[in-house]
Symmetry: C2
Subunit: 324 residues, 2 copies
DNA sequence: CGATTTCATGTTATCGTTACCACTTTGGGT
DNA sequence: ACCCAAAGTGGTAACGATAACATGAAATCG
């Protein structure tokens, strides 16, 4: 427009110069670039995307940005996407299907190149319908137990729960407790609990559950719930926490109550965040390759192919909170 | 289009129904909604924004999503923006002005309703030029020492550094050290150091600096740098860390080396993240109201007015790592 | 030296929506 | 019976870019 006039060429030529397509003489190219810079001109991406029928946007929906787990995955996604010239449009669902539905519409209205959704919630029928109609390629993250959409990259949370139980059982610990929060919404965490409890009960153990659906899944809640647990009666032999943050809070409560860890009670967290580096204690936890999940999900998004399920492995990170 | 045909009305009527504008009879409205739902129709937001010359997008540029500090601010922003129907387009600058320049262009090309940038980096001239030409309202976050753009919401990092120094000085501690990372890029952290050092030297103290510009600002780096510091010679009386994560790492190194905290060495972190809840120790730190900064920035963005600087206060969170 | 190819640029139609106004009907009010 | 407001709906022309093709000039060729 203005740029074209100022450079004495047609809008078409400006478009070509700015995108580096077509054959433009060096002189013209330099002149247009100069004028565009001087004018502080930024092409209207809305018009460009509308016209070319494709935006370089990828939609990413995660439960919460504040949760280190998902921001770790996000970093992995961006590490793949950004170098290829995509920008990511991030939305927070807070585990709420209605929220997800709203965000899916918002993102789809931007005609994205692809969509990455997080599993672990009960997607509404409307959401699925809209996704399918859009024709946009969709990848599901995180929940590997129930693959969905065009591809899935995640882990088996049920298996993770069983693995935690196995660690306890191998130490002869059978009286366990699972401490979490928001299990009503976070179906992945619920499935970890399920695996954990199943495995324990198969081996003749038992598993209490302490969870509050209204509290955040952080250090403070971990401490409060554990304190409540200890007030009820004698401490369990083993506690598995929903995440590392809650586990750290739990350890505070245990130590405050004089419960020896791991002498009296063993503790396992989940996810291997930086919180596991507690000062004196080192939390035993299951580590999930967050960055890798993100990177592989981004790759799965970019290379169209048949529906595929890509299960990543978690690792046991040995700390000092489980007895030998 | 298809919806209009299927409902037997004009595209114009569909547009009105879906946006809830204009006068449409109840019967028509219901029929159109029904058809749209059945078809899984999502309006093309690109075309809509192009036509109406306004998108409901707000651009937010922060150094890193993985850093709890900025994701805390982000939460505050979203708490204000999302209920008003805005969606946020988030970009990560990693403290790099060129990255910021690229992202600013990307966001502006989406014709956003507003832009929230994080201060603490040397913005390029081109970025400033493009921002001004765009006419989009811009708010600067975080860096309150050097207000910029249409409004600024943040804190004085210099004052925060001085406050940390004052705490040490009031305990008679004069031999201090500042431990950080990436001070070349993060000008806010550099300014905290400056305030810290100035205040100490005014009072006849001294301040060593230990920083590595290549390492991440996390627990592991905090531990490594502190271990290096202790290997060099006797421990300083006081250490101020760039953030809580590094401080926690530092405490590990100090305890591992048998340095009594706070008996021999006192420690102050910065930012009051959940990491401060270490298991036995409770880190003394300066707490910044992250959520509030975000919320106020979002409000400043929405209510146009003259350029304003909104300085928030930090608080000293007493822990057990500074001697009485 | 005419025919063909290459290079550099311009023309036109289109993407899907909305702003703005025009149009038809209906239901009073006088 | 006539007029006028309100209610409901549709037509038209943007919005700013690009895909696809068209054009003219310069270069190459047999």
């Amino acid at each position: 427009m203005t740029v074209a006039a100022a450079a004495g060429v047609s809008p078409m030529t400006v478009s070509k110069v700015l995108r580096g397509t077509g054959r433009i003489s060096l002189a013209t190219r330099q002149r247009v670039m100069q004028v565009a810079d001087d004018l502080g001109y930024v092409p209207n991406g809305l018009a460009g995307a509308l016209s070319s029928q494709s935006s370089q946007i990828v939609g990413i929906l995660i439960p919460s940005i504040g949760d280190m787990v998902y921001s770790g995955v996000l970093a992995g996604i961006n590490a793949v996407l950004v170098p290829k010239g995509f920008s990511s449009f991030i939305g927070e669902t807070f585990f709420d299907p209605e929220n997800e539905a709203r965000l899916v519409r918002t993102v789809l209205s931007l005609k994205p190149s692809g969509l990455i959704l997080t599993g672990g919630l009960e997607r509404t029928g409307a959401t699925m319908h809209v996704l399918r109609q859009s024709g946009v390629r969709c990848v599901q993250l995180w929940d590997g137990d129930r693959p969905d959409l065009d591809a899935t990259v995640g882990l088996s949370h049920r298996a993770a729960g069983r693995a935690a139980a196995d660690i306890f059982l191998s130490r002869g610990l059978r009286d366990a407790c699972y401490v979490g929060a928001q299990l009503d919404r976070d179906l992945c965490a619920a499935r970890r609990l399920e695996g954990f409890r199943q495995r324990l009960e198969e081996a003749g153990g038992r598993c209490r559950v302490l969870a509050d659906d209204a509290l955040p899944r952080d250090v403070v809640t971990g401490e409060a719930l554990t304190a409540a647990l200890l007030a009820e009666g004698p401490p369990p032999e083993a506690i598995h926490y929903l995440n590392d943050a809650m586990a750290i809070g739990g350890l505070r409560a245990l130590l405050a109550a004089g419960v020896e860890v791991p002498g009296r009670t063993s503790v396992i967290g989940f996810n291997g965040t930086s919180l596991r580096h507690a000062i004196q204690t080192r939390l035993t936890t299951l580590e999930v390759p967050l960055h890798e999940i993100g990177a592989r999900a981004a790759q799965a998004l970019l290379q169209p192919g048949e529906a595929r399920t890509d299960l990543v492995d978690f690792q046991i990170v040995a700390g000092t909170t489980v007895r030998p």
